[in-house]
Symmetry: C2
Subunit: 149 residues, 2 copies
Amino acid sequence: MAIPTNDHNFYMKKAMHQAEIAFEEGEIPVGAVVVCNGQIIAKAYNQTERLNDITAHAEMLAITSAANYLGGKYLQDCTLYVTLEPCVMCAGALYWSQIGTLVYGASDSKRGFSKISEPLLHPKTKLVSGVLARESELLMKAFFAARRK
Amino acid sequence: MAIPTNDHNFYMKKAMHQAEIAFEEGEIPVGAVVVCNGQIIAKAYNQTERLNDITAHAEMLAITSAANYLGGKYLQDCTLYVTLEPCVMCAGALYWSQIGTLVYGASDSKRGFSKISEPLLHPKTKLVSGVLARESELLMKAFFAARRK
């Protein structure tokens, strides 16, 4: 059965799976996938601890991986799904990538890019938010609750 | 003879040398170095073309390299010198790195982070701008003039 390419929940579940891998590895649980023509061409999860690198957010790794797969730097025909609202760094990277659509799950009230009042994404990028937001929030809460023990 | 650690011109010249390597390799000529206790611990130049990766700005590569050298993700005791004003992505990365001081050369009137009216850098980051700005501007102009031929 073909998966409708507009099924945001379907792809966000794949991103959530990446976030769960991050969780199991002791990383802040954020996951991302990049979809192009209905196909997942990149998947990644936050690896800032393992790589000892503050730039290793799920989105950054997914953008690099997707460009590598496509053999081109720009992602106009792609959609990036990420479980948490991107930060300013990742929004800046998404700008340069000219991503076609950004779909995110939970909002990030502290460091989410939408806290900046000026637009940071590329003017042609479509934005969808709140997809599986509750699941993402619960995973984040479980992560930080476990850390406080 | 010891080099005074506050000699911004000295270190910016090292960053300019990185920008010149980028120029020779057909990359937009931006270079960066990271200095810690008077020692250059990382140097990098823009490699977006070679790596086919919009995230491969000089600052991003320098941050990753410096963290790798130090064995820690945060750069509070370091200064990053970069020949061009960082973009929003790089400013966001510098925020996460908690870089001690950012010194940049030429301003970027189109994509420089200071075009955003809200502060993007970490509140503890000191900022110096305009160091060897003219040299950086000339190199950028030469690059784009050569491309138009």
